[in-house]
Subunit: 112 residues, 2 copies
């Protein structure tokens, strides 16, 4: 079991901002997942990987692929108080889910 967190690297987020957006995505996708998946993932050590995309379009395409695979997912938009325009899409989380399913969606992406 794992969760992939996908962040945009094309919008100039600082390290802390990026980490906060990743945390939002992780928690929201977790809350969208089934209790059984949550338990299995915790038993596996809550594996998380953080991956990069360079456009909003990729975030939406990956979210659509996650939905097709039946994986929990969450797209995050920033409220825009700092750094970014309000509503800017910043991050996506896919899973927790079976590693092979998550890899079908995010397996081609590079680590941040």
């Amino acid at each position: 079991m794992k969760q992939a967190i996908v962040v945009r690297t094309d919008i100039g987020m600082g390290t802390g901002k990026l980490a906060a957006q990743a945390s939002h995505a992780s928690l929201k996708a977790y809350e969208n997942s089934h209790t059984a998946s949550q338990s299995d993932w915790k038993a596996d050590g809550q594996k998380k990987i953080v991956l990069a995309v360079a456009s909003e379009r990729e975030i939406h395409e990956l979210a659509e692929q996650a939905r097709r695979e039946g994986l929990p997912n969450a797209v995050i938009s920033d409220a825009g108080y700092t750094q970014l325009e309000p509503g800017t899409v910043t991050a996506l989380a896919v899973g927790p889910g079976e590693e092979n399913l998550v890899d079908r969606v995010t397996g081609d992406l590079s680590l941040v």
Copy 2:
């Protein structure tokens, strides 16, 4: 309501590693919190800030202060598969909790 995520900046974590450790801390402290706090925090937009410390000692001291304030908290150690020695303490999350209480613990720290 807010949650403060505190990460070590003295151990050379890359951006993705730091974001993953922050996400671990955020989720674990969330799970240690009461349902009422979770609901109030969500209603407030799940505010998260990411702050820096430069030692493991500070992580433990801040966790102890959070416990004294009755705030949910979680200290994260890395499994050590990549980048770090196994068991390295990487991050702490404090809250969700009332902003003034969280600030009593982490209000003197700088943003990452």
